[in-house]
Symmetry: D3
Subunit: 319 residues, 6 copies
C-alpha cells in the first residue's frame, strides 16, 4: 500500500482487528482524494425511503464490520490493495437533508469531485435513491451498462409525491441517458407488488429481468453467463442492494423480501463479474438499527470487498 | 375491493405501510363475517404446547408484519383481493384458556360460524393443536386431504397427560374421520425423537411422509409432483407450521428443529399447490417472544399471503 | 363507553389483551371523528429528525403496547373512558413525506379537522417537529401555555438547512403567536450542546427552564408547584418527549440523553397536572427500531394513558 | 458446606464461575431432600398466566445467572452456606400441565415432601399462582403472615374462567385459612386496573396495602418499619414478584408495570426483614424469553440470594 | 441408560425439557469418569482467540440448548444412549487461564485422565486452540486422521506472539506427530486472508483442502465420498468449528465468515461419517455473547448430537 | 481546535453526527502525540478478566457512541475543546496479548510515551487491570490520590494464578508506591463476595471505602464532600468502572452487580470533582458484546465526556 501516514493502514497484519479507527478495510483516510485509484465512499442519506429509514447509519457500521475483512480474496486470488491505490475517501454527506431533490444534488457534487480526480468510486449507501446522483456524475460520456442485484427493479414511477425515491433511480437514469437498459441485467427480483405493471419500465426499456424463481432454476453459473451476454464489453456499473439477500442473511434493511439469495450466491455472482469493464459500484440499503447484531453490515462489508476485487481487476486491465 | 368503510383498505397504494391499524394485509375488519369469501382469522391460543409457549401472540405480530405485504403475487400473477372478498374476520379467542379441551371447543364454535357463513378460513395460530378444532368445523361432510409442511408429523400419542397437545392434532383428526390419511402428504419432517415409533400413526394410516433428507434430494419440483399425486382432485387443506423452516429463517417458534426448509423453498412449495382444490389453510406456531426482530412473523406473513393466493385460485375455480 | 360497533371495545375486560386489533387502548376506531370528545391520533412522521430516524413507526408500536393498559388509573381514580367519549381517530399521515414544510402542512390539515369536530387531540409522534403543525391548528384563538417534559428545549435555530426540524418547534410556535412563553415550563433539560446559546430563545422569551440538575434537587412535588405557578389557570398543552426519560427506561428514541427522569417521576409529574386546563397533548419520539424489546413503546403507552387521564379531567370540568 | 459429593460445590472459589452445571448458587443438587435445612426449588409452571407466558423457563435461567453470585452478603455479613445446609432440591414439576387445578395439586405434593423433610423452602417460579399450592403445604398449622413485594396485590377474583390464576393466589390463601391478612403487607402496588375494586379483597380482609406512590414518599426505612409492625413476631413468608421492579430493571416478566422499584430498593427491603421469623419464600414471574440479555434473571438471582440470607438468619435463630 | 442416580436422566421422556439441571442431553453427570464409554466434556477456555473472545461460555450454553434434543436420531436410526454408556463428564477447566501454554497443559491433563479411563471424548469448546491438547492426550499411539469442518484450516503460523493460538492447532499437531496430514480433509474453507500462503502448511503437508466453492459445486454426496477416500479405515477425529456454518445459521462465534454451510449440509456431512473409525471429536467456537437468541448454541447442540451418534456407531463396532 | 487536517473535526457542528470516522468525540486523530494537551486513548485489552471477556472491543464502540456527544457541558459550562488541545491519540494496543504480564508492560510503554509528550491521558478500557500499567507510567514522581467509582474495590489478592487480574490493580499500585491509599476514596462498592476479607487491603491501607448502602443514605452532595476531604489538594486520578452503574443503565460489562448508581448520580459525582487537581483518568470495562443496543457504550461516552471536562478544568488551572 502506498500511503504510510496512518501506521495501522500500512500493514493491517501488524495490528489486531479491534485496534484503531474503522475506515473501510482499514484503508487510508483521504478526504482530499489525492493519489487514489479506487475510492470507497459513504453516502449516509436515507431521505428517499418509503417505509423504514435508517440506512444513513449504514456507512459507519459497514466501516466498523469491514475491519474484520482481510487483504486478499482467497477464492480468486485478487489482492486489490496490491494492484491499486485504494482509499476511504470519506462521505458524500448532505448538509440539508430535509429536501430530497437538493440532497441528490449535493451527493452529485461530491461524486463529480471523485470523477474529476479520476477515482473509480465504490459507494456505500444510504438508500438506493443515491445511485441516481452517482450515475449523473459518472455517465457524463454516455450511458453505462449495469449488473443490478436486488429484490426490486427500482424502475418505478412516482410514489409518495416524488419521482426520485429509492424505488425509482434506474428509470430516471435511463430517461436521463445515463444507463443503457439494453446492457442492464437485474437479478433476484421478487416480492409482492401493488401494481402489475410496477416494473413495466424495465421490460419496456429492454432490461433483462431475472426473477428470483428463474435464478433458482438456472443456478449461479448460467445466471452469470446471461449477465456476461447482456452487459458485453462496454463499461459496467454494479449496483448491489443488500435486500437482494434473504432476510435470514441480511435482516437489517428497509424493505426486506423473503425468498432471496444466500450470501454465498451473492459472492459467487460478483466474483463472476471479474472480466467485465467495471467503472463504478455501490452496495446500498444496510439499515443497522434493524439488526443490532451487526450481521447485515458484516455481510455488506464482505460484499463490498468482492466489489472492490472485481473493480480492481478491471482497473488493472485498463492501465 | 368491495368494502370501503376503512379508507386505507380501498387502495393500499394511497397510504404508506406504517399508517393505520394492522389488520391482516390491511384487509377490511369484519367480525360480523358478512359478505366475505375468504376469511383470515387469528387463533391466539398456545395452551397445547409442550415446551416453549408464546404463539398466542402470533396473530397480532403476523398482522403487524403483514402490512409490509402488497396486493399481487409477482411470481404467479395471482391477485386475491381482486378475485375474492377477502377480510380479516378477527380472532377465534378462548374465554377460559386454562383448560385445553374446553378451549378447543370454543375454537371449534367460532369456526362453525365461519363455515355457516360460507367463508373459506385461513387460520393464523396459535399452536398446532388448533388445527383439530378447525378440522372439526370444516370436515363435517367427510374427510379432507392435506398438504402438511412441518418439521413434525404431529401425529403423536398422549403426552403430558393429554391427547390433544400440539404434537398430535392429525392423529386425532384421522381417528375422528376428518382427515383422509391416504390423501395426506407431510413434508419437511426431521429432528431427534424420543420414540422410534413416534410417527407410527402417519405410516400406519397411509400418510405420505417426506422427511427432510428426501426433500433435499428430490428438490421442490419433484416434491410437488408427489404432493399432487397424493392429494389428487378432492378437497385439500394446507397446514403450514413455521417450524418447517430452518431456525435461521424462523427462530421465533416453540419447537425449532435445525436443518429445515428455506423461505424460498416454502414459497415455491405453496405456489405449486395452486391447482389443488383448497378448502382451508392454516399457518401456525409463530411465537414472537423468541424473535424480537419480527423476522419470523414477517416470513409468516409472506407464507400466509402465498396461502391466500392459492386458496383464492381454488375459490375462483369453484364459482 | 358509548360506541358499541367493535365488540371488543365495548368491554375490555371481556377479552384477553392479546386478542383483536390494537387501537390505542383498544378504544373505538373512528376515522370519521364523529361523536368523539378526546381523540388519540398518530402522527407517523419523522422527516424532521437530525440524526436517528424511525419514529414514524412510533404510533403503531405504541398502539400495540397500549393493549396492555387497562381502563382506570389506580393512583388517581380517574377513568377517562367513563367520563369522556375517547376514540382512536387514526393517523395524521403525510402523502408526500419527502419535503418537510409540505409535510407539516398536511399534518396541520388533519388537526384542523380535529379542532373543527370539537375534539381534544392527544397526539402520538412521530418526531417533535409535529408539535408545530398541531399548535397551528389548536391555537387559533391565541397563545396557549405549556408543560414541556423533555431532554431538550426544542427552541433551537436553523439546523441542517431548515428552521422546522425536531429541535425547534417551540421557537417557531412562539414566533407565530401560538405558544405563550411566559406560561411555559420545560422540565428535564440536559445533555451536551454545541452552542452555549442553544436554548437562548427559551430564556429570552421568558420560558421557565428547569434543568435536570434542578429537578433532581427539587424533587417531584416542588417541581410540580413551580409548574402550576407558571402555567396558571389558562389553557395548557402538555408535550412529552420520551427522551426526557433516562435511556435505561426508554432506549428507543432518536436523541437519547443519559441522566434523565425515571418512569415513576414522569408519571407523577403528569398526574400532578390534573387540575390544569389541558386543551391538548402529545407524546413523541418513540423510535421502535432502537428498542426491539418494545419497552420504550410500553412506557410511552403508559405515559399516554396518564396524559389521557389529566386531559379527561380537564374536559369533564369544562362541561 | 457439608456436602462434598460435587467437588465444584465444596468450594466455589476453587472454580471459575463459567465452569460446571448451574445449580442454584452452585449449591449441592439433592433431589432426595436428605440432610437439607433450606431447599431452593424451581417451580417451572406458567399455566396460570393471563397474558404473556414463559415463566416456566424461569428456574433454569435463574439457576444459570445465579452462578455469578458469591457466598457472602457483603452488605449484611450473612453467609447462608456457613450457617445452614443449603441445597438445590430440584424442581416441583408438573407431569400434566394442561389443566390448572391438577397442576396446583402436583406442585402441592412436592412441597408437602419438602415440609415432611423439615426443609424451609425458597421457591423460584413459575408464575405467581404457584404460591397457593406452596401455602397449602406450608401452612398446615395455621395461617402465616406475609411480606409481599409486587406490582399487583394478586388478591383478585375469577378471571378467564378460573379462580386460581396468577392474579389471585392470595385471596384463595386467605379463604383457605393459610394466610393471615392482618399480618400481611403488600408493597409496590401500582398500574392501571379494569375494576375499581380489583384489590377490594386486600382492603376488606385487613391487609396493609402500600401503593408505589406511598412507598416513594415514605422511603425504604419507613416502609420497613411499617412492614415490621404489620407482620410482628409470628411466622412470615416473603413473596417477591419480579414485576415489583421497574421494567428498566426487569423487563423479562409477564405483566410488566412501569413506575416500579429499583433493584437497590428491593435489596434493601429484603435485607430489612432479617429479624423476622421467616418460614418460606418465593421469587416468581421471571420470563426469560422477554429478556434475551439475561438481566432479569440476574436480578432475580440476586434477589433470591437476599431471600436466602434472611431465611438463613431466621433458621439459625430457631436452632 | 445405566445410571439411575439422577431420576430425570433415567428416562428423558418422563420430564418436560425445561425441568432440571442442564447436563449435555440430560445425560448423567459423572465427574468421576467411572463406567463411561463416551464422555461429553466441556472445555471452557478462550485464551487462544485473536479477535472476539467469549467461547469460554460455550459449554454451558450448549448444555442448556442440548436439553431440547431427544434421544434418537430420526434420520439414521442411531440411538447412542441405548448402545453406549454416555455421560457428561464435566469440564476440562483451567485454574490459571492467563497464560496460554500453561492452560493447554492443564487441558491436556484432564484429557489424559479421560483416555486413562478408556473414555472416547467428545469435547465442546472453547476456542479451537483446545484441539491441540486433546490430540496430545489422544494420539499417544501414533497420528490420527481427521475430518475437519471449518471456515479456516487452522494450520497457521505464529500470530500475536504465539504459535498456539486458535488459528494454528493443526500445524502444531502435525509437527508433534499427532495428526496424519495425508489422512486429513478440511471442508468449508473460505474467507479473506492477509497472506496468500496462510494455509501453505495444509497444502505442503498433504492435507486435502476442500474450499467452500468446491464444496458448493460437488454437493454433499461427492464431498463425503472424497472424505471417506482420504481418511480411509484408520482412526479418525472429527473437528467441527461452528464457524463452518454461514453466520445466518450461527452468528454467535468469534471469527464469522460469510458464505458458509447450511445447518442441513453440516448434519448430512457428519451423518455420512458413520462408517469411519471415530476415536474422538470436538465442536468448538460457540461464543454465546454474540448471539443472545441462543440459536448458535442450539445448532451447536444438534451438531454435537450428530457427532455423538457417529461416535457411538464406531464405538459399538469396536466392541 | 488547533488541528485542521481532518475537516470534520474542525467544527463538529458542520457535519451531522453520522458522518465520517468515529474518533473520540470526533476529535483530531493524532497517533504522533504532537501538540496535544489531553489525549484520549483506547486500551483494547481484556486479558485480565476473571469471567466475561469482551472489553477489548470497548474503545471502538465508545468511539462510535461518542459521536453523539457535543462540545460543551451544558450543566457546568465547561468547553474542553476550547480550553485545551484535545485529541484522540489512538490505542495502547498489545502485540502479544496471550500473556498477562507482558501485555501490561506493552501498555506501560505506550503511556510512558504519553507522559513524555506531556499529555494528560484519559484512558478507555479494556478491563480494569490496565489501570496498573497506567499508574506505573503516570506516578513516576510519587504516589497519586484517587477517586475510584466502581462496584468493586479491585484491591484483591491472587486469583486464578495471577496477582495482576482485573480485581487487583489498586493493591498492586499501592504496593509499588504509585497510589496513595490515604488519599483514595472508593464509591459504589457492593455485591456478594466469597471472602469476608476480600477488600481487607483497602481498609488496612487506609482507603476510604464508601459502600453503595452508605452512598444511598448520604446522597451525592455529602458523598462529594467526603471525596474532596479525602483527596485534598494533591494530584488525583479518577478511575471509573462502568460496572459502578446499575446493570439497568449499563448491562454491557463483565462483572455486573445489581443495586448500583444511576447515570445521573455518576454524572453528578464526576462534575463535583471539578476543583480537584486531576492528572489522569480512565473509564473501563465496557464490554459491547453483552449489550448489542449500544446503550452501555453510550453511557460510557457521556461519562468519558464528564471526565474530559473536569480534567480540562484542572489542566487550565495548571497553565
Amino acid at each position: 500500500m502506498s500511503d504510510k501516514k496512518f501506521p495501522e493502514f500500512a500493514n493491517p497484519m501488524a495490528r489486531p482487528k479491534y485496534v484503531g479507527i474503522p475506515t473501510f478495510f482499514r484503508a487510508p483516510w483521504k478526504e482530499d482524494m489525492q493519489d487514489v485509484d479506487i475510492g470507497i465512499i459513504g453516502v449516509p442519506f436515507d431521505g428517499g425511503v418509503t417505509n423504514r429509514p435508517g440506512s444513513r447509519h449504514g456507512p459507519r457500521e459497514v466501516r466498523n464490520q469491514s475491519t474484520l475483512v482481510r487483504m486478499i480474496n482467497q477464492a480468486t486470488g485478487v489482492a486489490p490493495f496490491e494492484t491499486c491505490r485504494v482509499a476511504d475517501i470519506g462521505d458524500a454527506w448532505v448538509p440539508a437533508p430535509f429536501e430530497l431533490t437538493a440532497s441528490h444534488n449535493a451527493i452529485q457534487d461530491t461524486f463529480e469531485q471523485v470523477v474529476k480526480n479520476n477515482i473509480v468510486p465504490i459507494a456505500v449507501g444510504g438508500d438506493h435513491s443515491v445511485s441516481l446522483p452517482i450515475f449523473r456524475a459518472l455517465a457524463k460520456n454516455g450511458p453505462i451498462g449495469m449488473v443490478h442485484i436486488d429484490a426490486h427493479c427500482d424502475t418505478g414511477d412516482d410514489y409518495m409525491g416524488s419521482k426520485f425515491h429509492h424505488g425509482a433511480p434506474f428509470s430516471r437514469a435511463v430517461e436521463e441517458g445515463l444507463l443503457d437498459p439494453k446492457r442492464t441485467i437485474q437479478i433476484g427480483i421478487r416480492g409482492t407488488v401493488n401494481d402489475r405493471n410496477l416494473w413495466k419500465f424495465s421490460h419496456d426499456s429492454g432490461m433483462r429481468v431475472m426473477y428470483m424463481e428463474e435464478f433458482y432454476k438456472l443456478g449461479v453459473d448460467k445466471a452469470l453467463a446471461e449477465a456476461r451476454r447482456v452487459v458485453g464489453d462496454g463499461p459496467v456499473y454494479i449496483s448491489f442492494d443488500i435486500d437482494s439477500l434473504d432476510p435470514a442473511f441480511a435482516p437489517g434493511t428497509g424493505t426486506p423480501e423473503v425468498g432471496g439469495l444466500t450470501s454465498l450466491e451473492a459472492q459467487l455472482l460478483i466474483r463472476g463479474c471479474g472480466q467485465m469493464d467495471i467503472v463504478g459500484a455501490d452496495m446500498v440499503e444496510v439499515a443497522p438499527s434493524f439488526d443490532p447484531s451487526g450481521s447485515t453490515a458484516m455481510v455488506g462489508a464482505n460484499i463490498l470487498f468482492e466489489l472492490l476485487c472485481v473493480t480492481s481487476e478491471a482497473f488493472a486491465r485498463r492501465q
